[in-house]
């Protein structure tokens, strides 16, 4: 079907918190440049899979390949062994993440938030880092707030800065975890607009967890429906939203629509 190899290959991973099994033998593949929407009820494991890809959680079993390389394993003397911190740091260069609550550094100005990582992790000199940061801030429409502190920004503005910060490291894969759900309704729009631009102007692979069904529909190439740590259904947005095959998906969409969401 696809001509190139998948950039993310998740192979039968499992993950428990204590006795509670969140992911159980989950497998999925993502092709380069693909835009994926992850939807599903609360607690179904959407955030967990993104956090695993960002190496914020470890997996209990299974394998993950990113860009042809193992994420949590590395080869040593011809054997696969658990990855060390250096391997993880190298793999993390390929991945960026934007959080629901922005997680900006409150003690640094907007531009310092964006330049910090390139300067520290890539040794980029300050002038170059700032030039690039201003381009990114311009793209998210925050260039005029470069000197502001995060506390002086609205939620939507914070989220746009957080996106610029993640982009500054030029990752191949971007993970977005409910990036609009902490925002006041009138601020959601401005962040979604930035995502649209990103989608149009870059060739990054993007994984997006969202409850904005309308946006997921218009934006995604493919939709995965999660329930209890499993992918229950997947397909093109039109298939999933208009003609869900699974009962769980139908039930979920019905509830969402009842709550007034556009699909």
């Amino acid at each position: 079907m696809h001509l190139s190899a998948p950039i993310i290959k998740v192979d039968a991973i499992s993950k428990s918190f204590g006795a509670f099994k969140v992911l159980d033998g989950l497998s999925m593949q993502v092709m380069p440049r693909e835009k994926l929407a992850l939807i599903g009820p609360s607690g179904s494991g959407k955030t967990t899979i993104l956090r695993i890809l960002m190496t914020l959680e470890r997996i209990d079993g299974g394998y993950i390949q990113i860009d042809g390389e193992q994420l949590y394993h590395m080869e040593r003397n011809g054997q696969l062994v658990p990855a060390d911190e250096r391997h993880l740091a190298r793999m993390r260069q390929k991945i960026g993440m934007v959080f629901q609550l922005f997680n900006l550094f409150p003690h640094k100005s907007v531009i310092d938030n964006v330049t910090l990582a390139p300067m520290l992790t890539k040794g980029m000199p300050r002038p170059a880092a700032e030039k690039r940061a201003m381009e990114l801030l311009d793209m998210v429409g925050m260039a005029d707030k470069a000197k502001a502190m995060p506390a002086q920004l609205s939620g939507g503005q914070k989220q746009r800065v957080a996106i610029a910060r993640a982009l500054a490291l030029q990752p191949k894969i971007m993970l977005f975890d409910e990036v609009t759900s902490a925002l006041d309704p009138e601020l959601v729009e401005e962040v979604l607009n930035v995502l649209w631009r990103l989608c149009a102007e870059t060739d990054m692979t993007m994984l997006l967890v969202t409850h904005e069904m309308g946006f997921a529909h218009d934006f995604a190439d493919r939709v995965l429906f999660f329930d209890r740590g499993k992918i229950v259904e997947e397909g093109k947005p039109d298939e999933i939203f208009r003609h869900p095959k699974q009962e769980r998906t139908q039930g979920f969409l019905k509830k969402i629509i009842a709550a007034g969401h556009r699909v």
Binding site: M54, T55, L56, E85, A89, R92, Q93, I95, G96, M97, F99, L101, N103, L104, F105, P106, H107, S109, L116, A117, L120, T121, M149, P150, A151, Q152, R165, A166, L169
Partner: protein, 219 residues
């Protein structure tokens, strides 16, 4: 009539020693606080154990015992210290142990999400600490550090017991020479209080300066 002006000079000399002790002790305490506080958060068991032992030992034994030990017992095992060195060492190590717990608490108070943002931006452990966690944690520590510094200032009075000519000691000398108890002691009480006020004022203004722009964001 007693020459109060001359003896006031003596007391001010003592005040200088007290200030010197407080400053040097604070520097040592600050260093120890960060070493031990971060040690307690370390991934390595040995570091954690060392830090815990240091903290429990110095919080557990009395500052007097530490002071007398540093002054009278250490020389017997070949480590000779001037009274000033012994004073700074005992005060710094003692207050440092208390402040180490402040450092640990403050670092832990910085939310998990800041650590995760560091990982997501691929910052190394040390880079994240240095540029993201500690600058924020420091602001949390500051008010308690201010209290610690005042505790240290007050504790300097015990060095008079090892004959270091600090404020309290000079008051004793003036008392012996003039036969008046009330005047020297009342004078030094006021001086200590003024110094304590200076510390809390200094810490508060530093806190205000550092908190600029952070309003409403810190937890």
């Amino acid at each position: 009539m007693t020459q109060w002006s001359g003896y006031l000079g003596l007391i001010l000399q003592g005040a200088l020693v007290t200030i010197e002790l407080t400053l040097m002790g604070s520097v040592l305490a600050l260093i120890m606080a960060f070493l031990a506080g971060m040690g307690r958060l370390s991934r390595f068991f040995v570091l954690r154990a060392l830090a815990t032992a240091y903290i429990e030992f110095f919080r557990g034994t009395s500052i007097f015992v530490q002071l007398f030990f540093a002054y009278f017992v250490l020389p017997l095992i070949g480590l000779e210290l001037t009274p000033l060195q012994a004073g700074v060492l005992a005060l710094g190590l003692n207050v440092g142990a208390y402040a180490a717990e402040v450092v640990r608490g403050a670092v832990q108070s910085i939310g998990r999400e800041q650590h995760e943002a560091c990982i997501a931006l691929n910052l190394g452990r040390w880079q994240g600490l240095r540029h993201v966690i500690l600058p924020q944690a420091f602001l949390v520590m500051l008010p308690t550090f201010g209290n610690n510094a005042i505790e240290l200032l007050k504790a300097t009075s015990v060095v008079s017991l090892i004959s270091l000519a600090d404020l309290t000691f000079q008051a004793q000398v003036v008392r012996a020479q003039t036969g008046n108890t009330m005047v020297p002691f009342a004078t030094i009480l006021v001086i200590y209080f003024v110094l304590a006020l200076l510390i809390s004022w200094g810490v508060r203004s530093l806190e205000r300066r550092m908190a600029r722009g952070l309003d409403g964001v810190r937890v």
